[in-house]
Subunit: 312 residues, 2 copies
């Protein structure tokens, strides 16, 4: 009978949801306390929860087989000094829809001049200047995993052209053209919108640098919903201050929360959100766990397995 430790700030919610799912054979322990987890959860084969908490209890888990993360990013568990003798799966497939709402919400706010129209309203000014539109525009996706695939589908719904930059994969039917390796600047040229959904790995570190940003047209908008480490923040401030690109929207940063003295707070044409683009919804994640649990007890391959070396 497999024992599951739920270790999460939302332990109560997850406990209720997983209990209601009536998963076969499962025995359940849940807590939001690392100390408690280290004692009552020590013998559990399975752990479900936040990587930042799980990291602290990792040495105490004597019978660990599988960790299901509630986050997409599992950086706290990738530290080379930590054990890797278990299957680590992350949250994937559940963020695409919300990311898509975020990205297209901000792109539409830009095209529709939502802030400018509001300004006109404040001034009692009938501002009927024609707006832009998504239709016919070209979006470039840095990374085409499950989130990128969702963004591509929404872009196609709005009749856009989609470019994808990936390591090797070319399996998303909504991407019109793929780019790889040293084709990064070619990928960027002529893009209306550049969206990074890249995870934090050594390969993606500062991939959005001065070179890449300067290859974008002056009317381009950059959006980052992946990880802050993918962006050279100094280079981004520079291109925004000099008007080399039209604007940017950032949900993630090299340091979070963003330090009070960071130039981003006042960089022109930059909109900040605060790691809110795709909240982890307990219902989505409990469903994802349940799906993978059935695979686990049936001896099938787990979905969303993380490669410790690759980092995602």
């Amino acid at each position: 009978m497999p024992r599951l430790l739920i270790l999460s700030k939302q332990a109560d919610k997850y406990n209720k949801l997983i209990d209601e799912a009536k998963l076969p054979q499962l025995e359940l322990v849940s807590t939001s306390s690392v100390t408690e987890a280290g004692s009552t959860g020590a013998g559990c084969e399975i752990v479900f929860g936040e990587p930042s908490l799980i990291r602290k209890v990792l040495p105490a888990l004597t019978n660990l087989h599988w960790v299901q993360s509630t986050w997409a990013g599992v950086e706290p568990l990738l530290d080379p000094s930590l054990r890797r003798d278990y299957a680590l799966t992350n949250a994937r497939g559940v963020f695409g829809e919300l990311m898509s709402e975020y990205v297209f919400g901000y792109l539409l706010a830009h095209e529709r001049r939502i802030f400018e129209r509001y300004q006109a309203q404040q001034e009692r000014r009938w501002d009927n200047a024609v707006t832009g539109m998504l239709r016919g525009k070209t979006i470039g996706l840095l990374g085409v995993g499950s989130i990128g695939a969702h963004l591509a589908a929404t872009a196609k719904h709005f009749r856009m052209t989609v470019r994808g930059y990936t390591r090797a994969s070319e399996d998303c039917p909504d991407v019109d053209v793929y780019y790889h390796g040293d084709e990064l600047l070619e990928f960027a040229r002529g893009l209306d919108y550049l969206v990074s959904v890249l995870p934090n790995t050594s390969v993606t570190h500062h991939i959005v640098n001065a070179n890449l940003l300067n290859s974008l047209p002056s009317y381009a908008i950059f959006i980052n919903v992946g990880r802050g480490s993918a962006v050279d923040e100094t280079a981004l401030v520079e291109v925004l201050e000099t008007g080399k690109i039209a604007g940017a929207v950032l949900d993630v940063f090299e340091q979070e929360p963003l330090p009070q003295v960071h130039p981003f707070w006042t960089t022109p044409n930059l909109l900040l959100t605060f790691h809110t683009s795709a909240p982890s919804l307990p219902e989505d994640l409990a469903f994802l766990f349940a799906e993978n649990y059935l695979r686990f007890i049936n001896g099938e391959e787990l979905k969303y397995r993380v490669d410790f070396e690759r980092g995602y």
Copy 2:
């Protein structure tokens, strides 16, 4: 050999586009001047352009068979004192995509708290409050013609539930439930978003009244991209001022441009745009004309025929 009069503020653009389409047999006259149109265009069988201009030249057109409007709304030509001895077709099918970008742009701005997040940025405040989402919400469409059908398709893309209120038709596959006649309040109950795409007719006059607005939940958002006459503006101000609904976005008004003294400029939780939701794009409209012209010379039924009595 059919003769076409293009009478439009954008006559030059339309002339070029229709000339390039190399339509068979067509002879072309184009102008933006009503006076000139009355002389050089008098013998034309076909007129393509803005209803407001065409109205003025209507008596001089001795050989008129067909008018293709560049607008969706053809009110200037519906005056009962005017002749109706010709086929009138309006612009349809071309606004759906742009309307959809507008409506979902504003719905996402609401759910994503785009204005509030910007305020937080101004205050250097890490505002990571969870946002709302479109997924799972219910949208009600007042009117399900070609624009409504586009809105329904986008709503489905975002996994929403779609209700449609129509006179009789039930032919849009993306509408989950239809309502008709006296089911208006039932249609409104529980809606997250109410969107009017209704034309200006005697039947739709002030259909969005105090009764209907008060049937909406307090968290509902109302958007009007149809015609201003569908809304009882006094009732809308009242429900917004008393917080009976959460907000509204208006692109159209009973009087346009909106008078400087109108309460809408400062009504709480109301965003105004200025008849910009779906600009008439010359490329789209020239294509629409060309399509209908081929039907005309082949003796086929014209698309988008307006019923003078019904008003659309």
